[in-house]
């Protein structure tokens, strides 16, 4: 008998239009665009994206492109102890995009020995189960 889909065993974000109002983020990401919500009233550009502006409580938001390049502030290489479904090593990095927006992501498709604080990185689209996507980065080529 096939096991039904159990939501609490699925660590990845819900991305479909019937699940999240932020579904355009994931559609843009498939096209290689990194975006977030921008408040039409006060211009706040938060990360992660919202449906209400955390600074002025406006719900008049629009999608804004973020730079696809940034620098590693700090990183760590996790070698053991990852949750099931995640294979080591995983390189977690705090990335400052060129416009100052900061996000936590992973560095993939790169030589781990070449990863350094301050290194330039560029966006890649990471495929995760059930045809979903997440932003990730690699050392700039």
């Amino acid at each position: 008998m096939e096991q039904p889909y159990i939501y609490i065993l699925d660590p990845y974000p819900q991305q479909a239009p019937e699940q999240t109002r932020l579904y355009p983020f994931f559609q843009f990401l498939r096209d290689g665009r990194l975006t977030t919500s921008r408040c039409k009233k006060c211009g706040t550009l938060p990360w992660p994206p919202r449906v209400v502006c955390p600074e002025c409580m406006s719900d008049e938001l629009e999608w804004a492109d973020l730079p696809r390049e940034g620098k590693i502030y700090v990183y760590t290489v996790q070698e053991t102890g990852l949750p099931p479904g995640y294979d080591p090593p995983v390189v977690f990095a705090v990335i400052d995009l060129a416009n100052g927006v900061r996000l936590l992501s992973v560095i993939e498709d790169s030589e781990i020995s070449e990863i350094k604080n301050g290194a330039d990185v560029e966006l890649i689209v990471k495929k995760v189960p059930q045809d979903r996507v997440m932003p990730a980065f690699r050392l700039k080529r």
Partner: protein, 388 residues
Amino acid sequence: MRRVALIAAGLTRFGIRQATYRELIQEAGKAAFDSNKNVSPKDIEGFVLSSVFPERSAFQSHVACLAAESLGVRPRKLFGRVENMCGSGIVAIRTAYTAIVTGLADLVMVVGAEKMNVPVPTEAALNMITGLDRDWEGSYGLAAPPMFALSAQAHAAKYGTNEEQLSMVSVKNHNHSKNNPYAHFQKGSTMEQVMCSRMISTPLRLFHCSTMSDGAAAAIFASEERAKGLTDKPIFITGTAQAAHGYAVANFHRDLSHWPALKEAANDAYAMAGIGPDDIDFAELHDCFSIAEIIAYEELGFCEKGEGGKFIEQGLSDYGGKVVVNPRGGLIGCGHPLGATGVAHATEIFLQMRGEAGPRQVPGAKIALSHTNSGPGEHHILIFEKGF
């Protein structure tokens, strides 16, 4: 303002326990009632439970009523569960404190409990990512070890804090927990053992990390008036504060080696108690990872910013130093059943103030600080003073 006294406390052994969630609650509750024979379950007016994810690890929600029923408590003035990830225990105590200060209740029991270990150990790691920003960060597999490793990397880059200094925290706390029969780890450790243990997330090795332990702790608080009839050894909460500056790692303070939310909470708690960091005789600090204890020394004002590594190196956080940090062994020595940890701090403070801590007794302990974090951006503090 009405004063609030800690009048009873007890806990279970922490570790990989052959016991269920509700059995741990019963053990800890009994230990608390055994510590003060003047209080019985039927006297308890308020009941606050601290538990982080029993829905996942024990397949049980609606746990406050379960815990109360398990202990024969029928609360009628205050009742509920709190969940703030790893710092939940202090949040539960603050809830009890607030209820007593306002006069809502005179006698409130706090229980913290967590069943961390499940048959397949990696399931616990999956449970842990629910405590981070699951949609935007946890879904990369990010749990607590890499999150704190990022602070360690920032601290190393800015202040030169090194692996030896990180390891000294672990050796100190493992050596303290040798004297604690309730600790998960009671064999002590050497620098070599710590520095050769397997890498978890650079630069944090296995022995730099607290561990997944099952356990529970319980404490009973009373108004000053009610306490008079129940104990001649009250321990008063004289200061308490909290601060949160961010949930996602992306939204923590830009400099990850600085935890300004902790500094802010500490200063508020000191001001409320009318004391400063030099007045603290011993501290129960949230050493979920060794770097967390080092940064806490700095933000709590035990040393200058950036000097936390030297503070451990010079032995200033050990017996005979400036302030004894984590005499029970901390989270690294005792283990970290999430919801229980902050309440276990109160249990240690109860024993130390009464001079009942045995070989780990801090001589002349009169003022203690308890700190828990719920990640680098969120901190909770209590200050206790001996009232006898």
